[in-house]
Amino acid sequence: MDARAFPGLDRLSTASGLLALGALGALPIFFPGKYLTGVLTVAAIYGLWAVSWDFMSGLTGRENFGHSLFIGVGAYAAGFMNVKLGFGPWWSLPSAMLVAMAFGLVLGIPTLRLKGPYFALAMLSAAVIMQRLMLIFWEETGGEEGIQDITPLIKDHLHYYWFVLALLGASTVSLAALARSRWGLILRAIRGDEATCLAAGLPITRYKIVSLMISAAFAGLGGALYAHYQLQVSPQLFAVVTSITIITMVYVGGIGTIYGAAGGALLLTIMTEGLRQVGEWRLMAYSVMLILIIFFLPSGIIAPSWQRLRKSLGGTDRGLVGGGPAG
């Protein structure tokens, strides 16, 4: 009987993760061109946003409908630091993470005491309002146009892609490791029954808030990376569509598994790029997909497939963490 309290990451997972990363990194070498590299970069950034969402919402079941807020503030922080305050581009990354974490703290304190659906709605409202605020203070934030002329972090597209991919890998690994440590157990317990957690001596509020801050930090990081890729930020970043897209990616990947979120993001971004011909229907596609997934495949596609693959390769069944929307 497995007597280890906290499973942690195992070798098969880590090895295959590295393999996948390597493959992804090698793709543009075989199919060179700015277009593919660009798509993959965006896919990797979405991956970062997705794993950050999954860590908090996938494990605790507190689904955050306003994740775009952390993305947006991270991106705007990057824009501000770089363009308005004149700092070098590398300062953006830590600033974005700090600013996003601050928002996570400030928003988390009043909202995390709410039950699931109300937390989701409160965060949604916050994101909508944040978008509005960017427009209201147009003098400082550039309004509809946002902040332009951000300097790129790494000029070479391929190198930037590898940098982003490496960050995605590192983030996925660290968040997955955290999810399989005592922290992850606590978050899953919070999902199961909060009163019992209290009776077991866990300071659940603290854990919820810190997890939200961690989630926010990585989302903000992605936001900054996006800012230095697009070289501009606009209020569109706060759109609800972004949050829904990310949630769809996580569900496709398998909610609660962390690596599934990364896989879902990569898969969906690449897939929908292929649908570019269909043009404006793309955004609708995500919403439709979310509905279909929730009805027919609530455990997702990627994680269950990977679990089955593991078993056939002789690995132990790690089981799925989470699965389906929380009640």
């Binding site: 079941g61 689904e63 409908f65 009043p110 909202t111 005491r113 709410l114 699931g116 659906p117 109300y118 989701a120 709605l121 409160a122 949604l124 409202s125 916050a126 909508v128 309002i129 509005r132 605020l133 427009l135 209201i136 609800v240 569509v241 829904i244 949630i247 404006e280 229907w281 955004l283 609708m284 995500y286 919403s287 439709v288 979310l290 509905i291 929730i294 009805f295 389906g324 929307p325 929380a326 009640g327």
Partner: protein, 280 residues
């Protein structure tokens, strides 16, 4: 002052529908804003594009949205009733699909929904657009009718019963599923009516569904989820607060009012002012 009343009345229409479906079915319907948008766009389509008489266009639009609401309830919401978060996500997805569909069909420019009444009326020394006045009156009528319906008719009692205790209502033979559909139809119709009435003077573009939902949520939180009276009261509070802010500070700040109110309420008194889910 008058503007505040008009805005409040529109908010009240939206909030009452939102809180109604929640009180009865415990459903937080994020597609509620879409009903609002579809009411406005439907009227625009039938009246301006197809050239129908305005009254008919409006009535057909409201009725169609009611039917759409029932369809959403039956097909999408009902299977997920056990999971409030699932319903939330699904209805949000639906609202985005509607938004995209509207965007693809009509483009993103603002559309002009024709007004019923073009003339201005002078009320206590203030010039008020006739349409706004009409909106106010009709909104009040609609809510009044709803109130009478719920208090006086058997169907209304059934609705109250389900809101109090869904299980018990089932044991008593009340066909809750059909009532849910009915309540959804009413809720959607109210929202669509708000869209029709407010269309002429509030902005009509594909993403118009989002702010109403945020405000409806704010109102319902402040007034108390499931409390119709609370929603009406809170709607007026919010409407007037926004008018004051717009007058004193700046029009764009009005949205902040609702979110601040929500957050403060959630921190201080999550049950809302009239909370504890008193239906009436």
């Amino acid at each position: 002052m008058i503007y505040g009343a008009v805005t409040s009345a529109i908010y009240a229409l939206l909030a009452v529908g939102f809180t109604l479906i929640f009180g009865v079915a415990r459903v937080l319907n994020l597609a509620h804003g879409s009903f609002y948008a579809l009411g406005a766009y439907g009227t625009y389509l039938l009246a301006s594009v197809a050239g129908w008489p305005l009254w008919i266009a409006a009535t057909v639009a409201v009725a169609s949205v009611a039917v759409f609401g029932v369809a959403v309830e039956r097909i999408i919401i009902r299977p997920l009733r056990h999971s409030q978060l699932g319903v939330l996500m699904i209805t949000l997805a639906v609202s985005l699909i509607v938004e995209q569909a509207l965007f693809l069909s009509f483009g993103s420019e603002y559309r002009n929904v024709p007004a019923f009444v073009e003339t201005k009326v002078n009320l206590a020394g203030v010039d008020v657009g006739g349409q706004r006045l009409l909106a106010f009156v009709l909104a009040f009528l609609a809510i009044g009718l709803l109130y009478a319906f719920i208090q006086r008719t058997r169907l209304g009692s059934a609705i109250l019963a389900i809101a109090q205790d869904a299980e018990a209502a089932k044991y008593m033979g009340i066909p809750s599923d059909r009532i849910f559909s009915l309540v959804m139809a009413i809720s959607a119709a109210l929202a669509a009516l708000a869209g029709v009435l407010a269309g002429p003077f509030l902005s009509v573009q594909p993403s118009m569904h989002l702010l109403p939902i945020v405000k409806a949520f704010a109102i319902v939180v402040v007034g108390g989820l499931g409390s119709i009276a609370g929603s009406i009261a809170a709607a007026f509070m919010l409407g007037y607060a926004e008018t004051v802010v717009a007058y004193l500070v700046n029009g764009s700040w009005t949205e902040i009012v609702s979110v601040l109110a929500t957050l403060l309420m959630l921190i201080v008194r999550p049950a809302g002012i009239f909370g504890k889910r008193a239906a009436f």
